[in-house]
Amino acid sequence: MIYLEYLLLLFLIIAAVMAVYFEDEVISIIFLSVVSVILTTLYLLYQAADVALAEAVIGAGLNTAIYMSAISQIREKSK
């Protein structure tokens, strides 16, 4: 089980670096949602089910939708 934790932490760092690395905003938002999913699994491993539920709903669901609508508005105005 300890190896699963280290593997998830490694993937968390990789996904966070990828979210900063790409210049396209949509890819960054997708990688931020991947970060949230990995964080949810980590919280479940640490037996914090309340925080895991909040992170899954807010981080992976709500943040992605709000960021996408904001990005599409900015692109429409800059054209």
């Binding site: 309340d50 539920l53 807010i58 669901g61 709500l62 939708a65 709000i66 904001a70 508005q73």
Partner: protein
């Protein structure tokens, strides 16, 4: 020169913090910490099996009131800045397959959100998490069916009513605490059944329901006022 000054400032700040933490008392002097108190007496005093909810809505209920006030202020600010025209402009939504699939899935999402809200004192979850799942239903409607559908089914007036209603439920339950027990947001003990049943833990489930509808309606209003000019001209 400027970088040097900023670095000097940070080094001085770190030094001061180090001195400050070095003067903390030793850890072994503290024999009975606050978390031991919550774990030991939480179930007995509040009747809630989920200790996180017991702390959030009973011991620290006033903090939760402040958090919901922050959400209310954020929603008010976003609506004040972003909503210029009240008429919804919308796309036609996604394809037929996605619409039918979500038509089947949506009742289960609503049921799960209501379960998370009402069982907040028994299982992990609570008003805030369940409320965000409720808001996700409205967001799915806006994306998949187009925001005109969302406007017809759940108009902004209905969402505003739900949000203010949830906040009023919270404050009224706090006031009832003054009336029956003498303290604001005190646990209403006469509502308690045996721990582990649905109607237990005094006023915690009622506060959960109020916060759930308030958070769900508030976040739906935020997303709606952000999206209403987004999918513009093709309608």
């Amino acid at each position: 020169m400027k970088k040097f000054l900023v670095g000097l400032l940070f080094i001085g700040l770190a030094f001061l913090l180090l001195i400050n933490f070095a003067e903390l008392p030793e850890e072994k002097l503290i024999t009975f910490s606050l978390s031991d108190y919550y774990i030991g007496f939480g179930l007995e005093q509040t009747g809630a099996l989920n200790l996180v909810t017991a702390i959030l809505y009973d011991y620290r209920g006033f903090d939760s009131l402040g958090e919901s006030t922050v959400i209310f202020a954020a929603v008010s600010g976003i609506v004040l800045i972003l909503s210029r025209k009240m008429l919804p402009v919308s796309s036609h939504g996604l394809s037929f397959i996605v619409k039918r699939t979500l038509g089947i899935l949506t009742p289960f999402i609503a049921l799960f959100s209501l379960y998370v809200i009402t069982h907040g004192h028994l299982t992990p979850g609570g008003g805030f998490q369940g409320g965000v799942i409720l808001a996700a239903i409205s967001i799915i409607f806006s994306i998949v069916y187009g925001s005109a559908f969302d406007y017809k089914r759940y108009s902004p007036e209905l969402k505003t009513t739900f949000e203010t209603g949830g906040a009023l439920v919270f404050i009224i339950i706090g006031g009832l605490g003054i009336l029956f027990d003498g303290f604001f947001l005190d646990n209403l003990d006469f509502l308690t059944h045996s721990p582990g049943t649905l109607i237990s833990a005094g006023s915690i489930p009622l506060i959960n329901i109020g916060i759930g509808f308030k958070v769900g309606a508030g976040l739906a209003i935020v997303f709606y006022s952000m999206i209403q000019k987004t999918f513009g001209e093709e309608f």
